[in-house]
């Protein structure tokens, strides 16, 4: 199988790392990219298995810097197997696993366990992220050197902001030698004061405690100052407020070593979705309101914040898209809004939901694909996210015209917590190739490594 020779022909190849956007063929052999070549007739590839990609977009496999696999510890929500399957369904061939598992990935032993099982059972590449502090408690630095040696690609206490400014300062300073970014969930919990959604008109109407945008902005501003002080690499996860963008722009102009990501949901959904009407504002609050699938941290923001993050991604101020894929079981979401867990199941809807912004003319398809491929690969500093000769043959094929309905029960993910249920999306990943192997093919449905644990009807 590893010797498989594959020709993906006639598609619109978009590889931002090489500046390629033209109809071409992609040749693969021994799990590596051979070349991107001028489109020839199919007969030209006698030795090759041919995938006809005409009318499709052929892109490097997507890279997600922010995935929650829930394994070990919460396997009823997601496992390494189902999470990597979900990734393949969504066109992702590399995902970075957040360390908020149980036990926390704050030691080489846990990280190595995740890496070993991901290599054995995973459908795509899993790169681990190590904790910043022991147990993610924000008190004492985790053994960052040991974690780096074990192969983590960065450090994060995701979900738990480093509230102690000195600990953040030391973490940044310590990471310099390791050359890895600190990824701090930016939220001043004191300003947020127990809020469960974004503060504003919607929260007030629903009587839900609101988190002001400033709770994020204040900590982003602090972290940027500390990154400047320490000359360390800071990566801001799921940036979502206008204020954070102002601070980010100013820091980048001053040469601070910072990158930022935005999630598909912060690019496409606003706080009006909490009314439960897919963004419509009701005349009266109805029984569909308090849609717990819209509960996420950072919370879905205002319309103006959403417009601002779209523009910032388009111009490159925000470097990349990351999913913050956060699967949760029904018991975590079929409850009151206050009780509900934070998080949205994203991997399988990520591309299509953001592709709507391309259709709307708000971002170019090239920039969208760059933010899912070359962008995150550059932050990782690895030979990924491109179709360069010799790179791992990770390829995602997209049908830009395909219209499909989001039916979460058909997800490969174990969980169904998405507010996009029943929404029609345009643009769909139809084939995902990882190291030269087809790990997802929409037409044939479950295949190969997918035989175990895939839900009936998945991908149909």
């Amino acid at each position: 199988m590893a010797a498989r020779k594959l020709a993906i022909t006639g598609g619109r190849v978009i590889d931002p790392a090489q500046g390629i956007d033209r109809v071409a063929d992609v040749l693969i052999s021994n799990g590596k990219i051979v070349e991107v070549t001028e489109n020839s007739s199919v007969t030209g590839y006698a030795d090759y298995e041919v995938i006809d990609a005409s009318g499709k977009i052929v892109a490097p496999g997507f890279v997600d810097l922010h995935t929650h696999l829930r394994d070990p510890g919460q396997e009823w929500k997601e496992t390494i197997v189902t999470g990597t399957q979900a990734a393949a369904y969504g066109g992702f061939t590399t995902i970075c696993a957040m360390p908020n598992t149980d036990p926390v990935q704050d030691s080489a032993a846990v990280v190595e366990d995740v890496m070993r099982r991901a290599a054995a059972d995973g459908v795509v590449r899993v790169l681990p992220i190590g904790a910043i502090s022991v147990g993610q408690h924000g008190k004492q630095l985790a053994p960052m050197g040991e974690l780096a040696d074990a192969g983590v690609i960065g450090f994060s206490d995701d979900g738990n902001p480093i509230a102690d400014a000195n600990l953040m300062r030391q973490a940044l300073k310590y990471s310099v030698e390791l050359g890895l970014p600190i990824i701090n969930h930016a939220e001043d919990k004191k300003i947020g004061a127990g809020g469960v959604m974004s503060a504003g008109l919607v929260a007030t109407r629903l009587g839900l405690a609101g988190v002001p945008a400033e709770a994020e902005t204040a900590m982003v501003a602090r972290d940027l100052q500390l990154a400047d002080l320490t000359k360390a690499r800071l990566h801001i996860p799921h940036i979502s407020t206008i204020g954070s963008l102002v601070a980010l722009r100013s820091a980048k102009e001053c040469g601070v070593n910072v990158t930022a990501e935005v999630t598909p949901h912060h690019l496409t959904l606003n706080d009006e979705w909490v009314f439960g009407l897919k963004g419509e504002i009701p005349a009266q609050v109805g029984s569909e309101a308090y849609d717990t699938n819209t509960k996420v941290n950072p919370p879905l923001r205002s319309r103006s914040d959403v417009e601002a993050v779209i523009e910032a991604l388009s111009e490159g101020l925000i470097d990349i898209i990351a999913t913050d894929h956060a699967p949760h079981a029904a018991t975590d979401k079929v409850c009151t809004y206050n009780e509900a867990a934070h998080g949205i199941n994203v991997l399988e809807t990520a591309f299509a939901s953001v592709f709507a912004l391309v259709d709307a003319g708000k971002i170019s398809v090239g920039r969208l694909i760059e933010s899912l491929t070359a962008g995150p690969a550059a932050i990782l500093g690895r030979d990924l996210g491109s179709l360069k000769k010799g790179f791992s043959a990770d390829v995602t094929i997209i049908d830009p015209g395909s219209q499909w309905l989001v039916i979460p029960e058909e997800f490969a993910s174990k969980s169904v917590n998405t507010p996009l249920r029943g929404v029609e999306l345009t643009g769909r990943v139809v084939t995902t190739i990882y190291q030269g192997e087809t790990v997802f093919d929409l037409q044939s449905g479950a295949i190969g490594t997918f035989s175990e644990g895939v839900k009936a009807g998945a991908g149909q």
């Binding site: 008109l201 929260a203 007030t204 629903l206 009587g207 839900l208 897919k278 504002i281 009701p282 009151t336």
Partner: protein, 356 residues
């Protein structure tokens, strides 16, 4: 993703609009199953409930006041927060109408054993009850429950969101004194940020054409509101006036409503002290003197006498606090009767099905 023109709100309507809308809305509405808030009730529906409560008040005042109206119906009150007066009010309302009323309190129920709200509701649903009266500390809990039961759900107060039966009894009390509500000036003084009574009353009184002004410390309004302004329609509370100070709110008011201020607000840093609150926002005879001569003084209870309301006015000639409590039973009778009237049982549908 949303056309701004579809934004609709529940602000005060002019009398003309109200007159035009009321019958049309009423005709379009299916028979009501739940009472979750007043924002989805038409003026006609509210008026019907208040009219019905007039009759209920007469029944509740009889020597032998047991009626068979809801005989054979089962009503469960499920309170996840302490509240003697609201629970007893609902219990009495149900019992006067002849229903079987069962009280479940969170500490006594399996909820404290870690059973989820969903499973509790499903268990009660399996017992084929007719109505579930719910008080819950989380906003939206009655909405959640209404999605998982065939029983009628009555919101007896959810988090910081709504308290519709309190608003109905307040409307009823004011109407019984002043008649027409339209054009009346209502001053609400108290914690608007956390008070579900304030929110529901703003919606209720504005819907009936009254002018509502609130006064409270700036720390107890949402950040997007500003003292000294009038809210726009997009807020869902369109037309609400936010007074700069309490005197401005109370000035020539027809109704002055003081709300309970919680000790926790001081602890959370919203207030320097209850003493300062009392001095700056407490309703006393000097402040009542600014209102109309025959202005009503209301309080949803329980009162912190000497804090948000002075004892002198709490028990003075203008106070209708005890009437509010009495009217509460009548209004809740009207609500329970409207929702559980004979012929509306979900069991009826089951037995019809069984026959066919």
């Amino acid at each position: 993703m949303t056309n701004p023109t579809t934004v609709a709100t529940t602000g005060a309507k002019s009398e003309e609009e109200t007159a035009q809308l009321a019958p049309k809305e009423n005709a379009a509405l299916p028979p009501r199953q739940h009472l979750l808030d007043l924002d989805d009730l038409s003026v006609a529906e509210i008026t019907d409930l208040l009219d019905s409560a007039e009759g209920m008040l007469e029944i509740a005042g009889r020597d032998n006041r047991k009626t068979p109206a809801l005989r054979g119906k089962t009503i469960i009150t499920m309170f996840f927060e302490n509240s003697t007066r609201t629970r007893v009010s609902f219990e009495q309302a149900g019992k006067i109408l002849g229903a079987d009323v069962i009280n479940v309190t969170a500490s006594a129920s399996s909820v404290s054993k870690g059973e989820s709200l969903l499973n509790t509701v499903k268990t009660l649903q399996a017992m084929q009850i007719d109505a579930l009266v719910v008080r819950h500390p989380h906003s939206g809990a009655p909405y959640f429950i209404s999605n998982h039961t065939d029983a009628s759900v009555v919101n007896a107060g959810d988090g910081t969101h709504a308290h519709p039966t309190q608003s109905l009894l307040d409307l009823f009390t004011v109407r019984s004194h002043v008649g027409e509500l339209a054009g009346k000036k209502i001053a609400i003084v108290g914690d608007v940020l956390y008070s579900r009574v304030a929110r529901s009353n703003i919606i209720a009184f504005q819907k009936m054409g009254a002018e509502v002004t609130v006064s409270c410390p700036n720390t107890l309004i949402p950040d997007e509101w500003q003292l000294g302004s009038t809210l726009g329609e997009e807020t869902g509370f369109g037309g609400l006036k936010l007074a700069r100070n309490v005197d401005e709110a109370v000035d020539s008011a027809d109704v002055v409503m003081a709300l309970r201020i919680q000790q926790e607000r001081q602890e959370a840093g919203h207030l320097p002290s209850l003493r300062e609150y009392s001095e700056r926002w407490g309703i006393n005879s000097q402040r009542m003197a600014l209102a109309n001569d025959d202005a009503l003084l209301m309080h949803p209870g329980p009162m912190n006498e000497g804090v948000e309301i002075s004892s002198e006015v709490a028990h003075g000639a203008q106070s209708v606090v005890e009437e509010q409590v009495r009217n509460g039973v009548a209004v809740r009778m009207a609500v329970l009767y409207t929702l559980c009237a004979p012929g509306k049982s979900s069991r009826l549908a089951d037995s019809d099905e069984a026959q066919s």
